[in-house]
């Protein structure tokens, strides 16, 4: 049985080409890798190499032929033990659906081939988005466990440190790496004391090389370690974002589940104080945009400890957005080393019936201050601390809005495609009938962060701006 040589597709979009030149004549011997012919596409002239070996038996499409459809038989190759007699009465069959075994291919003309290929393409794309196919709901992490254990008053930086120390004691795969985390005790003193307890093998000062050490951390996580990669601030992680997204977040999917990246990226995010545009930016919507990541943003001591511990234990890549301006703030935090918070669960920090305010990280303070101010006017705001930005606890927000019928979102980040924009969409899709006023966003101003004290203050959400937005959606101006 002769072997058919088919018109090849030389790019993902090629459907036909010109047979420019034959390099082999009938009767020539052919070995793998020999150039058989030259094909002209709309972009270039390419050589077609032989895969099978034998003797060129018959050329079916002569050189100079234009618009030869992909997968048209262009020649017949005689196998090692075949003579020309095998060509007698042989009818080229071509290929439908791409079987290389010509015995199985149904005879059909070239046009039929092409139509079938198109039909197949259509059915494929159809198959990808069948009717009624919905993405699965995010798993409900269940209610937050009531914690009635012992607490103590500590700063956020201590809560974060304790979270890491406890997890490092419990799991020797966990290590911390980053700039100044060891001997300097942390640029913001978050890792204070960890080097003393765990030694330089597990508390590792890196060179100033975010792209490199983020990638190194991801590689170590692929090998089964549990790295905590500290960025001195998230601003510098833009150098490393390729590894966070392309190497960490996408690998499990690209590997079909074979290999993932259990890693924590953490550091201060958002507006610092008087450091201008390159050092003051909120990355919440950047990372929350990406499937394959979880993103948490703690506010309280409970959050800091419970979310960071949960992140370290989680088998997925997690972005922990801390806030420099909260590091020195004191909160009550659990002393129990088994305490963790569920990732994906928001917390209602203040109950209210008139309006819902969502916030995360430092903006929870701003939202709570606004709520106090509004309470003196008789408006009771419900303040939701989002805690996790991906997966977002939409159920808690929706339930609140069903009660209050109005919502204001607060974030330090820019308004365009921000977390507030996402919440607004969720409200449109899932709570439209309960809304008595448009969803309103209070965001950082849409400008790079200015240095001047007065301008910087103008660029950030304040309790006054939040209260104003609430009065507006309450038609109480």
């Amino acid at each position: 049985m002769p072997i058919e040589v088919l018109m090849p597709a030389l790019s993902p979009t090629m459907t036909e080409g010109n047979l420019a030149k034959w390099h082999k004549a009938e009767g020539d011997s052919v070995t793998s890798g020999d150039v058989l012919a030259e094909i002209e596409t709309d972009k270039a002239t390419m050589e077609v190499e032989a895969v099978d070996e034998g003797t060129m038996g018959k050329i079916l499409v002569s050189e100079g032929t234009e618009a030869v459809a992909v997968n048209t038989p262009i020649a017949l190759l005689l196998g090692e033990d075949e003579d020309k007699g095998a060509l007698d009465g042989y009818e080229a069959k071509g290929v439908g659906g791409g079987s290389t075994d010509k015995d199985k291919a149904e005879p059909k003309d070239d046009k039929g081939d092409k139509e079938e290929k198109q039909a197949k393409d259509e059915s494929t794309s159809e198959q990808k988005a069948p009717d009624g196919f919905a993405k699965p709901e995010a798993a409900d992490p269940g209610p937050e466990p009531d914690y009635d254990g012992e607490t103590h008053e500590i700063t956020i930086r201590e809560a974060l440190r304790d979270a890491m120390a406890e997890e490092m004691r419990a799991d020797d795969r966990v290590f911390l790496m980053g700039e100044e985390v060891a001997e300097y005790q942390g640029a913001y003193k978050v890792s204070q004391g960890l080097l003393d307890e765990f030694g330089p093998k597990r508390v590792i000062d890196t060179p100033i090389t975010e792209h490199g050490f983020a990638g190194l951390g991801v590689g170590a996580s692929m090998a089964g370690l549990r790295p905590i990669v500290e960025f001195m601030t998230w601003n510098f992680a833009m150098q490393a974002i390729d590894h966070i997204i392309n190497s960490a977040a996408k690998t499990l999917y690209m590997a079909g589940g074979e290999l993932g990246s259990p890693i924590v990226f953490r550091g201060p995010n958002g507006a610092a104080s008087r450091v201008a545009a390159q050092h003051s930016q909120c990355y919440a919507s950047w990372y929350a945009h990406c499937p394959g990541l979880k993103v948490v943003a703690p506010w309280s001591g409970m959050d800091a400890k419970g979310l960071l511990k949960a992140a370290i234990r989680d088998p997925n890549p997690i972005v922990v957005l801390e806030h420099e301006m909260l590091y020195g703030t004191k909160f009550e935090a659990p002393t129990d080393p088994d305490f963790v918070l569920p990732i994906g669960k928001a917390k209602i920090e203040r109950k209210g019936s008139d309006v819902t305010i969502t916030a995360f990280s430092r903006m929870v303070d701003v939202a709570l201050a606004a709520a106090e101010e509004l309470a003196s006017d008789g408006i009771e705001a419900e303040v939701i601390n989002l805690r996790t930005l991906r997966p977002l606890d939409t159920a808690t927000i929706i339930d609140s809005v069903k009660k209050t019928n109005r919502i204001v979102t607060v974030e330090e980040g820019w308004p365009y495609a921000g977390i507030g924009s996402e919440i607004a969409s969720v409200m449109m899709e899932a709570a439209f009938d309960w809304l008595d006023a448009p969803v309103t966003r209070v965001c950082g101003e849409d400008v790079p962060m200015p240095y001047a004290a007065n301008l910087e203050a103008l660029a950030l959400p304040t309790p006054e701006r939040v209260a104003k937005a609430v009065r507006s959606v309450s038609y109480a101006d």
């Binding site: 790019s11 390729d242 392309n246 079909g256 088998p315």
Partner: protein, 350 residues
């Protein structure tokens, strides 16, 4: 070669990491036996035939997107793989089918991934550039040029952290050698004495740009000098020379720290399937194929020095062809992933 002049005022402080070797034939550092040579021949041929078949399936529209073939470079990965022990790890960039086969991954699973089918190594969700096998110590398959270098350095970090005696072979190309993150990784590898062999597969072109047109200095094996990492240039078309250098480099990495091997090699095909390769002459390609082909070179040695005749090799050719044909058939018969796979493997349920 390796490490005799390791500079930087830092002692190679890692402790003894020797582990039992010789579990597999040909991995002891001894001169390869006749059987070893036949094995290298078979393994290189398997990559060649696999890639030719992949090219054919691509031409038939059964493989989509990017498809970077390894034809011509087979000696590099087969020579280096012969130097590894169980527990070592391998990572590479996007021209990766050869590395997968060399680590022992099943041609059927690799081919089925190329055709985007459920029985592919990544259930059809990764494609040509993204396959992994923890079992075989293969960590991808990475599509961002240079990104696998810090990742491989991290694999080496994990070997050292665990004190398991393992080494990571981190392959990348001449193009990636100009990425900044490569040098960030070199710095940390040298600073922390990480057990990594950086194998630069210099096939002379980063896509369509020759090394000379993209690199201020073209001796890529010297690129570690600023970090005290020694390197050597090796004839990457000769599997025995690759192996000889590889044994020494892997041993050095295992005991002391990072080392660079620059493999002078050549890809016969374009950068990817749709590359007509107009940036080099036909004569250049045919000269390499005719005079330095890695499979032909080894074949000649086997025929002349090892008392094997053509028929003996034909048996191997036949066996390999059958394996590849079976892989191609498998890759076409395996079904496409179920639509429900769209939303799986995004996160691990904690």
């Amino acid at each position: 070669m390796a490490g005799k002049s390791k500079s930087g005022g830092k002692s190679a402080s890692s402790g003894s990491k020797s582990k039992s070797s010789g579990a597999k034939s040909g991995k002891t550092g001894a001169k390869p036996s006749k059987d070893d040579l036949l094995q290298y021949y078979r393994d290189m041929l398997q990559i060649r035939r696999f890639e030719e078949k992949a090219g054919q399936l691509y031409g038939m529209g059964l493989i989509g997107g990017f498809c970077h073939l390894y034809i011509g470079q087979e000696a590099v990965v087969i020579g280096m793989q012969s130097c590894l022990e169980d527990g070592d790890s391998v990572i590479t960039t996007y021209r990766d089918h050869g590395h997968m086969l060399a680590t022992g991954m099943d041609p059927k699973g690799v081919m089925a991934e190329l055709t985007g089918r459920i029985d592919g190594y990544s259930k059809g969700k990764g494609g040509s550039m993204h396959m992994f096998s923890k079992d075989k110590g293969f960590y991808g398959g990475h599509g961002i040029v240079g990104a696998n270098v810090p990742l491989g350095t991290g694999l080496a970090f994990a070997h050292k952290y665990r004190e398991d005696g393992g080494v990571c072979l981190t392959y990348f190309g001449d193009g990636a050698a100009n990425q900044g993150q490569v040098y960030e990784a070199f710095n940390m590898a040298a600073l922390w004495d990480l057990p990594v062999v950086y194998v630069i597969e210099n096939n002379k072109y980063g896509m369509g740009t020759s090394v000379a047109r993209s690199s201020a200095t073209t001796d890529l094996h010297k690129r570690g000098a600023a970090h005290g990492i020694d390197g050597q240039k090796i004839d990457g078309m000769n599997v025995l020379k690759v192996r000889e250098a590889g044994i020494e480099a892997v041993a050095y990495a295992r005991e002391k720290g990072p080392i660079i091997l620059e493999m002078e090699t050549y890809r016969y095909r374009g950068h990817s399937m749709s590359d007509p390769a107009k940036y080099r002459s036909k004569e250049e390609v045919s000269k390499m194929r005719d005079e330095r082909d890695p499979i032909v070179q080894l074949r000649d040695i086997i025929l002349k020095e090892k008392g094997i005749d053509e028929d003996g090799l034909k048996e191997i050719d036949k066996e390999v062809r059958e394996i590849i044909n079976a892989a191609a058939e498998f890759a076409q018969e395996s079904p496409e992933p179920d639509p429900s796979e769209l939303y799986t493997d995004i996160l691990i349920e904690a």
